[in-house]
């Protein structure tokens, strides 16, 4: 034990059980980490390791891969699918699924383009209508799900087809509508980058925010005599985040920099992270995913939670569709088609969201979509076409689900399923 007899404080309220190993200091932290991994609480470890492997391999195959220009592209490509994946995380948390996010995103893109270009409505109105289309679809799904008890994968499979049809209908005979290049929306997605100075300010704010919330937590816990992390550990973590983010931003700034669209995605991830981990609503999402009947008996309005999950996933799908259309400067019949659907679901699962419900974080969407887009970008750089991309993405998805299943089994053998 690394505990010094001299300095050891009176034992914390939550550390008094004699069976509990006293993990203190850095060694304790490392040991606790390996224990958690062995017990199947893998968290973001597999995806982080996977990302490093993928980046190394592609960099060895093509030195352009890790170039600043390519990474800037990667971040921009990630945003639309990442936003959709954020919704998928929500619906997977309550142990349901939405297979129609691709179609819904395509429909939202079509609605946006028709209202903006064909009808000549103001951008704000078109945007609002496109996004509310998604929300309305989510509301419809949730009502069907709650009233008739049809499994969500059937409802959304039907939705996948129906809303694809609606998308084609809305687009009309032309089948494709170009968005004007001078539209603020298109500029936001294509050419709007954070000024270098502001990007560094944001990095400092992020690190400061981490430090601030960590400090508040330590203080609150110390006041109540609970075990708490050390200030030194917190400082080290904050500095690491500062340095890591700082370097990433510096590297991106060597070419075009950090796109506002990517910042929007990150902001959404952070907001969802807060909502899921620090509010009663988030707790309820995990509870419903873990044991819906127990959640109901605890007084949670389970139907409202399901509704919120369905509405969120469709709304995020619509936002993702709008961003994709903006990036492409067009909405057409293949908007939201192809691999968008599976990429979004794969991203959420690869990022560590369990298909079995009740497990996952908002960061899963970020990490997962980086993996998916890295594979896609790397294969494109190698001049391999979409056939390979589909195969590789499929294999990676299977791998991610395998890790989920294995860690689940490991959790149950360690009694933490």
């Amino acid at each position: 034990m690394t505990e010094q007899a001299v300095k050891s404080p009176p034992q914390a309220l939550d550390r008094q059980d004699e069976r509990l190993r006293q993990d203190t200091g850095l060694r304790g932290a490392v040991r606790g980490f390996f224990d958690r991994v062995r017990a199947g609480d893998v968290g973001v470890l597999p995806v982080a390791v996977g990302l490093v492997i993928i980046w190394t391999v592609f960099q060895l195959l093509n030195p352009i891969f890790l170039s600043s220009a390519n990474l800037v592209n990667l971040t921009l490509e990630s945003a639309p699918v990442g936003v959709i994946a954020l919704g998928i995380v929500c619906i997977l948390l309550v142990a349901e699924i939405d297979l129609s996010v691709g179609s819904v995103s395509g429909l939202a893109a079509a609605v946006l383009a028709v209202l903006l270009v064909n009808q000549g409505l103001p951008l704000g109105v078109a945007l609002l209508a496109a996004i509310l289309t998604g929300s309305a679809i989510g509301l419809l799904y949730s009502q069907i799900f709650l009233r008739f008890g049809i499994p969500s994968f059937v409802i959304t499979l039907a939705g996948l087809l129906s809303f694809l049809g609606l998308q084609i209908y809305v687009l009309g005979a032309a089948g494709s509508i170009n968005l004007p290049f001078d539209s603020p929306l298109v500029r936001f997605a294509q050419t709007a980058f954070v000024p270098a100075w502001l990007s560094y300010v944001l990095v400092v704010l992020a690190a400061a925010g981490l430090f601030g919330s960590g400090y508040a937590q330590i203080r609150e816990r110390r006041e109540r005599g609970l075990s708490h992390g050390t200030m030194r550990g917190l400082a080290i973590r904050s500095v690491l985040v500062l340095a890591g983010l700082g370097f990433a931003v510096y590297y991106l700034n060597r070419t075009r920099g950090v796109g506002w669209m990517f910042v929007l995605f990150i902001a959404l991830v952070l907001v969802m992270h807060y909502m899921l981990s620090r509010t009663a609503w988030g707790r309820a999402m995990y509870a419903v995913g873990g044991n819906a009947e127990a959640a109901r008996r605890a007084g949670i309005k389970v139907n409202a939670i399901y509704t919120s999950a369905f509405v969120l996933v469709s709304t995020f799908a619509a936002v993702g569709g709008v961003l994709a259309a903006a990036r492409l400067a067009a909405a057409n019949q293949s908007s939201g088609g192809g691999d968008v659907n599976l990429n979004a679901i794969a991203a959420a699962v690869i990022g560590g969201t369990s298909l079995f419900g009740g497990r996952g974080t908002a960061f899963a969407a970020l990490l997962g979509v980086l993996v998916i887009q890295s594979i896609s970008s790397g294969l494109t750089l190698l001049n391999l076409d979409s056939s390979f991309r589909f195969i590789v993405t499929g294999v990676v998805l299977l791998l991610a689900v395998a890790i989920d299943s294995i860690s689940r089994r490991s959790r149950s053998s360690h009694g933490t399923a």
């Binding site: 109540r224 509010t279 044991n291 109901r296």
Partner: protein, 296 residues
């Protein structure tokens, strides 16, 4: 309706000091399709009183508990809470009235930690969870129950059966309930924890709460309860004052006969002639000396 006899209520009214019950059930029935799980149940729960609900497996005890907790709505009958007629369509409504329940199947979320489960649905600061305060209160609660839980940050899935039961009991104590319903609270508990839960039941009674305890353990029932309501095949089979009630009489009421496996067995193991009644009575009539008015 015959009025309550003064003598039979002496013990409870002395403790509670108030005449009218907090919760009273009149003619509660519950059908699951063709199965009548509960038929015409009458029951009163007074403040500062522990009422045991006993009965064989499948007698309808848990169904009764779930009706009170808002999990099932009764097919017919009325519930009155503090002399107002109420309906409890959802568990949230039961919580709002001040009815807290420990279910037989515990109803915990295995993927959530102990603290999260304890405060599920009644978190402190909904929009910015007060984790530290919730953890502190969790420790206070668990200590009251002499819970042997190493850390409250692990998922409930990692706990033993008895530890989970303790968590479920601790959860019912949060949020100042007026009535606590315990469905076989000590079924999985160790010796010390069982004693602690029984002590707790007595403390709750002394604080003026109404406690409903479902139990198969006659010794526990006779030790802490004031009254015993016997369910048999979904019907009231009498309500007894515990004072002066023997465990044989209780068993007879539960099984509906003086001649049953339990009495035969105890007769065999202690072959003292006349120690236990052995006459074969098939009518489900409990000892008339201790039976109270059915609609008391």
């Amino acid at each position: 309706m015959p009025s309550t006899s003064a003598s039979s209520d002496e013990r409870t009214s002395a403790r509670s000091g108030s005449g009218s019950p907090i919760l009273s059930l009149r003619g509660i029935s519950k059908h699951f399709g063709a199965v009548a799980a509960l038929t015409d149940i009458d029951l009163d729960i007074n403040a500062g009183e522990v009422v045991a609900v006993v009965g064989d497996n499948g007698a309808g005890k848990s169904t009764l508990v779930k009706v009170l907790a808002g999990v099932h709505s009764p097919s017919s009958g009325t519930l009155s809470f503090e002399s107002r007629e109420v309906t409890v369509p959802t568990p949230a409504d039961a919580h709002a009235l001040g009815i807290a329940t420990v279910f037989q199947d515990l109803a915990l979320c295995e993927n959530l930690s102990v603290v999260d489960n304890l405060f599920l649905g009644q978190e402190l600061r909904k929009l910015r969870l007060h984790e530290a305060e919730m953890e502190t209160r969790s420790w206070d609660l668990l200590r009251q129950l002499s819970a042997k839980i190493p850390t409250v940050r692990i998922p409930v899935a990692a706990l033993s059966g008895g530890q989970r039961q303790t968590v479920a009991i601790a959860r019912s104590l949060l949020g100042d309930p007026k009535i606590i319903i315990l469905d076989e609270p000590t079924a999985a508990l160790g010796v010390a924890q069982t004693a602690e839960v029984l002590n707790l039941v007595e403390r709750l009674r002394d604080r003026g709460l109404g406690v409903v305890m479902v139990s198969h353990n006659m010794a526990d029932v006779l030790a802490v309860c004031d009254r015993v309501a016997v369910l048999r095949l979904g019907r009231n089979n009498g309500t007894f004052d515990v004072a002066g009630l023997s465990s044989e009489e209780l068993v007879a009421a539960i099984t509906g006969a003086d001649d049953n496996a339990v009495t035969k067995r105890s007769a065999r193991s202690q072959p003292r002639p006349g120690a236990t009644p052995t006459s074969a009575t098939t009518t489900p009539t409990p000892n008339p000396l201790t039976e109270r008015e059915p609609d008391d």
